[in-house]
């Protein structure tokens, strides 16, 4: 149980870090495209600033949002797996993707179609974020599989 909880926390952290990274990079890639002086050092500084800012300085702490989404999605998956016979790594990967999908689709509905996560403003951005959820879910599912 303790190990499963640890995997869950790591899974949430993976998704959170990847979402932050996607946000940082999408901003900086655009800035670079208009000839702003973006260096590797600046990328790292901005990423760490975003990691802190998006989790401690924003309107909603990202890690809390991701945790809420993941907990619901993983909970539903746990129940569905009672009846559905499939690999847990795949099932939880889908759950992770669904969690992020719900976040990027539902948040704008609550805020006049505004995408508060800047990286989610384009279809490509949304897709990458969903893949981040997929990866973190896959990590969680595969760890549980290995444990069993």
């Amino acid at each position: 149980m303790l190990k499963k909880s640890l995997y869950l926390i790591i899974s949430i952290l993976i998704a959170t870090v990847l979402v932050v990274l996607q946000t940082t990079l999408s901003n900086l890639i655009w800035l670079s495209s208009i000839d702003m002086p973006v260096s590797i050092g600046l990328v790292l500084n901005t990423f760490f600033a975003d990691l802190i800012g998006m989790n401690l300085g924003g309107a909603i702490p990202l890690v809390g949002l991701v945790a809420a989404g993941m907990l619901i999605a993983y909970g539903v998956t746990l129940i569905l797996l009672i009846w559905i016979d499939t690999r847990k790594s795949y099932a939880y990967a889908l759950a992770g993707a669904a969690a992020i999908l719900a976040i990027v689709l539902l948040m704008p509905l609550a805020f006049y179609n505004l995408d508060l996560i800047a990286g989610a403003r384009t279809t490509l951005g949304k897709t990458i974020l969903i893949l981040c959820g997929l990866l973190s879910g896959y990590y969680f599912g595969s760890k549980i599989e290995n444990k069993e």
């Binding site: 932050v20 946000t23 940082t24 901003n27 655009w30 800035l31 208009i34 702003m36 600046l42 500084n45 901005t46 600033a49 975003d50 802190i52 800012g53 998006m54 989790n55 401690l56 300085g57 924003g58 309107a59 909603i60 990202l62 805020f111 006049y112 179609n113 505004l114 995408d115 508060l116 996560i117 800047a118 403003r121």
Partner: protein
């Protein structure tokens, strides 16, 4: 002896403070208003104002008329959208012409855009309604419209067009209306001396660019003052000049609502610095330049109404710098607009579903 010096210093400071202070009182002109947004003074006792929810209303001879003025086009009242900016034609006394900016739903689509109409105020209805500007492209969002207007001395009309929130990067491109100050003639045509006239890939009605959500614009003493909301921090007061780039979102003093950096840069060559910026945000809204004698100590000052926490900032500007800032009227809540009445009183609109129009007058 030391105590005496302190006493003299205290008396001197108090006298100095009193020199800039004005004794004023509030008088509620109208109450129970539905999100009052823009005010246009016909004269001291006759006022037109918009309610974001879609009504154009009038105070006639000092009394709020019960109904609203008919003929107002359909507006999208959602988020920050609705019936917004209003301005009288410079020759209003002769032609009864007004201009209104609002969020306009695209027919049969889920998109909307900023639209500006001219119309004749004929008794209690609008006639001769003509669309003179429609921002392009449309947006899915209901935020960051700008929607304020001001006349230049040459009779051309400036319109503020916000970045639509989701489309902030487009404020740096000249092929769209997101994050721009627009300059047009009152019939909707484009002045031939606009800065981008004839430039390939640029819309000729653009006057300046790189703005976010421009909520106040005023022309005074040959300068165009413009204020705009930053995100979390980074609200700005700018002096707008043609063809200048005000930097959003490439340079900013604010952060995204998510807590992420929008840009790690605050300055770059070729991008203008604000005259003043606010961190944390004050959410500037309307703006007026006080050029009357009634409050003589305030003559020549800029007044910016603010939504957060809710007050008015009196700014003394000298040589493109704010040299003094005073917070006023902080007991009224969120203030959406501020105008100067011909007699020198100030008229404020408080924000929200039970908004008020309040006159600030000498005690």
């Amino acid at each position: 002896m030391r105590n005496l010096k302190v006493l003299f210093l205290f008396i001197f400071s108090a006298l100095c403070l009193n020199l800039s202070a004005e004794d004023f009182e509030y008088k509620v002109i109208a109450k129970d208003l539905s999100h009052p947004w823009g005010i246009a003074m016909i004269d001291d006792n006759n006022i037109l104002f918009t309610e974001l929810s879609g009504q154009l209303r009038r105070i006639k001879d000092g009394t709020l008329e019960k109904g609203s003025i008919s003929g107002v086009p359909e507006v999208l009242f959602a988020g920050q959208g609705g019936l917004s900016g209003i301005i009288l034609d410079p020759d209003f006394n002769e032609n009864n012409k007004i201009y209104i900016a609002f969020s306009s739903p695209d027919e049969g689509k889920s998109t909307n855009t900023l639209e500006v109409i001219s119309a004749i105020l004929d008794s209690n209805s609008l006639t001769n309604i003509t669309t003179i500007f429609k921002a392009s492209p449309s947006r899915r969002t209901a935020a960051h419209y700008g929607a304020r207007m001001a006349f230049l001395d040459d009779g051309t009309l400036l319109i503020t067009s916000g970045d639509g929130f989701n489309y902030r990067e487009q404020a740096q491109d000249l092929d769209n209306h997101f994050g721009k100050v627009i300059r047009i003639n009152t019939d909707g045509s484009i002045p031939s001396d606009n800065p981008y006239t004839g430039q390939d890939g640029a819309l000729p009605e653009i006057y300046s660019y790189g703005h976010r959500n421009l909520q106040g614009i005023v022309v005074a003493n040959g300068f165009i003052y413009e204020n705009e909301h930053g995100p979390m921090g980074g609200d700005e007061l700018n002096i707008v000049e043609p063809a200048k780039n005000y930097g959003w979102p490439a340079i900013t003093y604010g952060k995204d609502y998510s807590g992420a950096m929008i840009s790690p840069f605050t300055q770059k060559e070729g991008m203008e610095q604000p005259v003043k910026y606010w961190v944390p945000s004050i959410a500037p809204s309307g703006m007026t330049f006080y050029d009357k004698d009634l409050f003589s100590n305030w003559k020549g000052n800029l007044f910016i109404s603010a939504l957060v926490p809710g007050d008015v900032r009196r700014l003394v500007i000298s040589d493109f710098k704010v040299i003094e800032e005073e917070t006023l009227f902080s007991d009224l809540g969120r203030i959406r607009d501020i105008v100067t009445s011909p007699n020198g009183t100030l008229v404020l609109a408080t924000d929200g579903p039970s908004g008020q129009l309040i006159r600030v007058q000498p005690k």
